[in-house]
Subunit: 269 residues, 6 copies
């Protein structure tokens, strides 16, 4: 009955806020104009769902390279929406489950959402939900069929739902027809050197006259890799310098920084 | 016995009307000559089934791009037929079911239909019923065999059945031999600019001198995308303008409309 | 014991006559010389089985395009044979069964036949019994192995069996080696215009001076499509004329007939 | 214990003689020099197994086109060997069994054979035992592994075994490595016209001056097809002449014989 | 406990000696210098395992054409090693078992071996253990993973193990990475004519002036085929001469010998 | 509760130390500059995890040819880290387990690690954990999905984890997207001749004037093969010399050493 239904939603929502916050553990810094534009457009969709008469279901896909900040952005939109039901569906909580159990959980979240007037569901890392590997390729058709139907199925009368998907395998989703099932798709990019510079200035770990060349070296990196590289470099060539650097007493040695960058790049290159 | 059988059919039918109406939530507007022609031909098939002596089973496939209005048209034909049994078979109500359960449900609907003198069955989104993905390709052979047999099996003496299928993957159905199993196939097209213009005039959200260029921009879009784009644009560049626009106090800014269109097209392009 | 065995055969046979008649619901009209020749040759095989000493098992495959009249002819041969056991094996009565259940049913029919002195088994639509789809291709190897063995296995001493297969996928059966397992194969063709003309004359729905051009337009159509097209055209462009036409008061408008034909052909073309 | 074991073998053998005789229902006629040579060589292998010290296991494969007389020859060798245990393993008695049941039955026959001092096992139609179809290709690897091991495994001390395989898919067996597992392979051919002539003379159904041209027409046919064609032709063009022909009162009309031949050949051609 | 463990090993070993002897039923004759060299090198590995400090696990693969004497050599090494635990793992004793049962048995043998200070395990016919067929190709990945791990896993402290593998499909093992998992690989060859001559001289079944040409004809044959051909030829063209020949009263007719050879070669050729 | 959790971790850790030590049974010798550099960088990552604020999860892949010392290095890092929880996940302890059992065990180790403040998990031989074979290729997608998620999932607040993977199939991991899931990748190389020389000098089994040419011959070998070759050569050409050599009384005969090397190389070559 209604009371039970309500009870069910409340903890679901409670748990979810934590999940959303975990997607942006270190807070959100300014990643440049292009990230901002996507955020604003997505917030317009949030509003559209709120005031909509004709479109009870709006769906939006965030795609871009690994670590570019898609999940963090989706979580932020969910948090900023103030909707009653906001839930993230992620492979992290479904490790080792069978295809059909995963499927059931996904459906359950949608049915929970259908009970709230305004809901957001984040389908995080869709290729992982689909158990995708490029070799074969292999993936769960059960889950892909489920998503294809759920992305088209209208909520009950009077209920409105925004679905935000994220993926770093847009070509794969394209070939499944899942991209076309979304109303809009936005590309979340890597950082340009001017974006990287802003981030580094915020961190304050480089000497002033190193910051331009460091940013240059980070051109076209995803935000995640930028953070990892800075932290690796902050240990220093022989270790032990990290505390001094983060407390501001020392700066990262730019040559050591290049070395670290070289370790990573040379392998790929 | 007979009473039980009747009882079974009644709720099935009741439920179904709702299902049919949900396929055309916003009513039906005039989508131009080509949509109309298909509707008329399909209604001739309805009549043929009614008066037929030699063809107790007539089958008709509506194919066309995603969102072009196939399901809405099939539902409308079903509603306008006034047949005793009209039922839509859709993947939406069978998410996560096994192939064989889906198969059993499909067969059940046909056997229910065989008990009415005049019936219509809508096989909606056949590629979804078949769990089709283009990669592989994969699909349920159990269900495709079932459809191939059901599309050929004659109803019992004195019972007449019209089957309407819809699909946006006609090439796939062709390659399975399912297209050939239908008596006729009609192509439900996207809107031409003159069709789009009529729809926009009905909505009354553009300034009079913008309506031609807006229609031009929407040339070759499916009706579904037209509605979505208009609604997105109606929020305005900074949000909040939707109510004013739908109440007629304001018009959609044509440049913002182009921006929204650009977001969507640039990605695909 | 014997009585039980007999009981089993009797209803099997009873049911079967119905099944055979359903394959030619509208009776059999003259489809031209080529259909006739096949019928006669097949009736010689019936006689061979009856008088044979050295060939207790004769097998014959009817292949040809969909709707060309193969099942109707097989059923007619079975009815005209006057054999004690005549049975049609069709996918229509085995929808949704597992491969092994289908297999068991097929074997059962053969074992029933082995108990009669003279039997005919129709393997109708063999590609459907094999659950064939061209994509992959996929099919049931369990059933194909079963057929390959059954088409070669001799009935017990004193029992004689004629097996008639039908298929519209002769290339597929060829590649499985099933064609070679049949003693003879006959091609059941579409209608030539002179054949179509005879059929139309029998129906008496065209004006005398339209009948030649109508037949010309139907050149190379299977009999099934001819019937469907005539019935569609008989509704008239705006409906309601069917009764008048079949009662002979009116004739089919030849231009409307071309339109209907065009709807079907243009799509394929 | 020993008595039980003996009991088990006796009925197995009894059943088997019947099985062997069924492979040559119409007796054995002279099929020409090439068939004879193979028979003689195979009988040498029978002797080798009987007197052998160093080769307790001899294996021999008969391969050739479908209907060329391989199974009849293998059965004849088994019958003429006078060995205590002679058994034919055929797909005919294993229809619909699972791979592992078939496998168990095959192994059982070998283990039964290992208890007799002198045994022959006929692996009839190996491609059918392997559930082979050329599409894919598909086949049972469980059974192919079993055969590969059994064809190499030595019987217990003091027991001797001859295995005769037959196949019409020698290329397939070659590619599995099963051909190489046999000690020798013989090719059982179709009939040359002089072979066919001998067979026809024995049947005495052609007029003396037709017999040469009839043999010519049958050049390169397998013995099975020769019998089937003669019997079909013996019905006469309008039926009813079969009894007169087999009783010697009439002869087959050579032109009708050509017609029948044409029906079969034209289809393939 | 220890006593139980001991009990377990003793019968395992007892059974095994029989198994090893069965691999060389007719004893071992001198097959020439190349066979001898491999035997000596392998016996050095046996010693290495015995005195080793740093290499508790040594693995050696014998590869070569079918019938070249690999299993016989592996068995001989096992017998000559005088190790406490010598065991052959062969597909012959695992017919029809599931992949996982086979896997369990293989693991069991290794765990038994880990309890002896000095052990040899013969993995006989690895492609057969892996259920390999070239079509596909197909094989058991469960078993191949098991072998890949077992060939690398060190025995417990103080236990030493020599693993000898045999295969006639070295290319396949190479492609699985199983060859690289062995420390050394030796090629066991077919016989050269001088090797064959030695073998024939030992058998004493050819006339003195035939022996050179007979050896020439056997150049490049595996030892197994040499034995089979000699025994077939010893029956004589009309049978019955085998006893006289093996008792030395008669010699093999060299022309009959060529005929027999021709039967076998012509087919392959 | 907490006490139970603690108990669970303690034995897990105890067992693990043994496992780590078994990866470097013969201790660690100096393998040259390149091995050293990787060790130092990896120890910086250990420190980073210890002092980190922003990166609770650091992941590092060691890739290189089979036997190059990856597992030994990973174990050494684990031992030298002094972290409370260090665990190696290896296929050796999971032989024959089902995919899902393996998966469960892997997850269990991560969840155990999440309870310690500082943990290291070694994913040893990732291609073996994934049950990879190059033919197909085949591998466990269940396990690969599990790893892809675990390599990205953050530990709970306040817990820090370093994951070290090893593989000799880096191209395969690359194609699965598993390489990209690691923060850094280092290449563990084979030995150059100067590295090999140092190792040989340590072993003291070659005469002084042989050591240069021996090192030259070992150029580009993985450390594992170097040890195996030396031990094989130490047996001497006729056996028995190993004790004298390891006790220093004799030296390895350089020509015999070349012979042994030739046996191995010629086969591959
Ligand atoms: N605007 C931001 N400010 C600060 N940190 C950010 C921002 N965006 C992302 N991050 C951080 O960068 C890391 C990567 O971001 P996120 O996980 O959202 O990327 P992603 O595109 O979802 O990557 P993946 O494709 O691997 O899922 C996270 O640790 C996140 O907290
Ligand atoms: N004639 C019409 N007037 C008004 N709205 C329509 C009309 N036809 C379709 N629509 C609306 O357009 C949307 C798409 O229509 P519909 O679902 O029938 O398309 P479809 O071709 O079935 O698409 P899909 O291939 O995705 O199933 C629906 O919201 C429907 O209500
Ligand atoms: N000689 C005939 N006279 C009248 N009607 C016929 C004749 N032959 C066939 N028909 C009708 O034509 C239709 C198609 O015939 P039938 O089902 O035998 O074709 P088919 O070749 O078996 O087709 P499919 O390949 O689809 O199984 C049926 O409705 C049948 O009743
Ligand atoms: N020498 C013979 N004399 C008389 N009849 C024969 C002879 N050889 C074979 N036959 C008959 O010919 C038919 C085909 O022979 P058989 O079944 O042995 O052929 P096959 O090569 O085994 O064919 P398949 O490849 O289809 O198994 C059988 O009816 C058999 O009785
Ligand atoms: N040196 C030998 N002296 C005498 N007989 C031998 C010798 N080597 C092998 N044989 C015999 O030759 C036959 C084939 O040998 P074996 O089974 O060892 O070959 P193989 O290489 O293992 O063959 P496969 O690849 O088929 O397993 C056996 O009967 C064996 O007894
Ligand atoms: N630095 C070293 N000093 C001495 N022995 C070493 C050293 N590194 C590795 N070894 C030894 O060399 C052998 C191979 O090393 P290890 O198993 O670590 O290689 P690997 O790269 O993990 O190989 P694989 O790819 O086969 O797993 C082991 O026996 C190990 O003990
Ligand atoms: Mg993400
Ligand atoms: Mg639709
Ligand atoms: Mg039919
Ligand atoms: Mg046969
Ligand atoms: Mg062997
Ligand atoms: Mg390793």
């Amino acid at each position: 009955d209604f009371l039970n239904a309500l009870q069910e939603i409340v903890p679901a929502f409670g748990a979810s806020t934590d999940d959303l916050e975990r997607c942006r553990l270190n807070g959100m810094v300014d990643c440049g104009q292009r990230h901002k534009h996507i955020y604003q457009r997505a917030m317009l969709l949030v509003e559209q769902v709120k005031v909509s008469k004709g479109s009870p279901l709006v769906t939006c896909l965030l795609e871009g390279p690994s670590g570019s900040g898609k999940s963090a952005m989706a979580a932020t939109i969910g948090i900023d929406s103030d909707f009653a039901y906001v839930k993230i569906i992620s492979a992290e909580t479904m490790i080792g489950l069978s295809e059909s159990s995963k499927c059931a959980r996904i459906v359950k979240v949608f049915e929970d959402a259908y009970r709230s007037q305004l809901s957001i569901i984040v389908l995080d890392d869709i290729e992982r939900l689909l158990e995708y590997v490029p070799i074969g390729p292999r993936f769960s058709n059960l889950i892909s069929q489920t998503l294809l139907v759920l992305l088209k199925r209208l909520p009950p009368k009077g209920k409105n739902l925004l679905v935000i998907g994220t993926t770093s395998e847009v070509g794969f989703l394209e070939s499944l027809g899942i991209c076309d099932a979304f109303s809009v798709t936005y590309h979340v990019p890597t950082l340009k050197k001017e974006d990287a510079k802003k981030v580094l200035e915020g961190l304050n770990v480089f000497a002033d006259n190193d910051i331009d060349s460091a940013s240059e070296a980070l051109d076209n990196m995803p935000i995640k890799k930028v953070y990892m590289l800075v932290e690796m470099a902050a240990q220093g060539a022989t270790g032990g310098s990290s505390e001094a650097i983060y407390s501001g007493r020392e700066k990262i040695n730019i040559n050591h920084f290049y070395d670290i960058l070289g370790d990573i790049v040379s392998f790929r290159g």
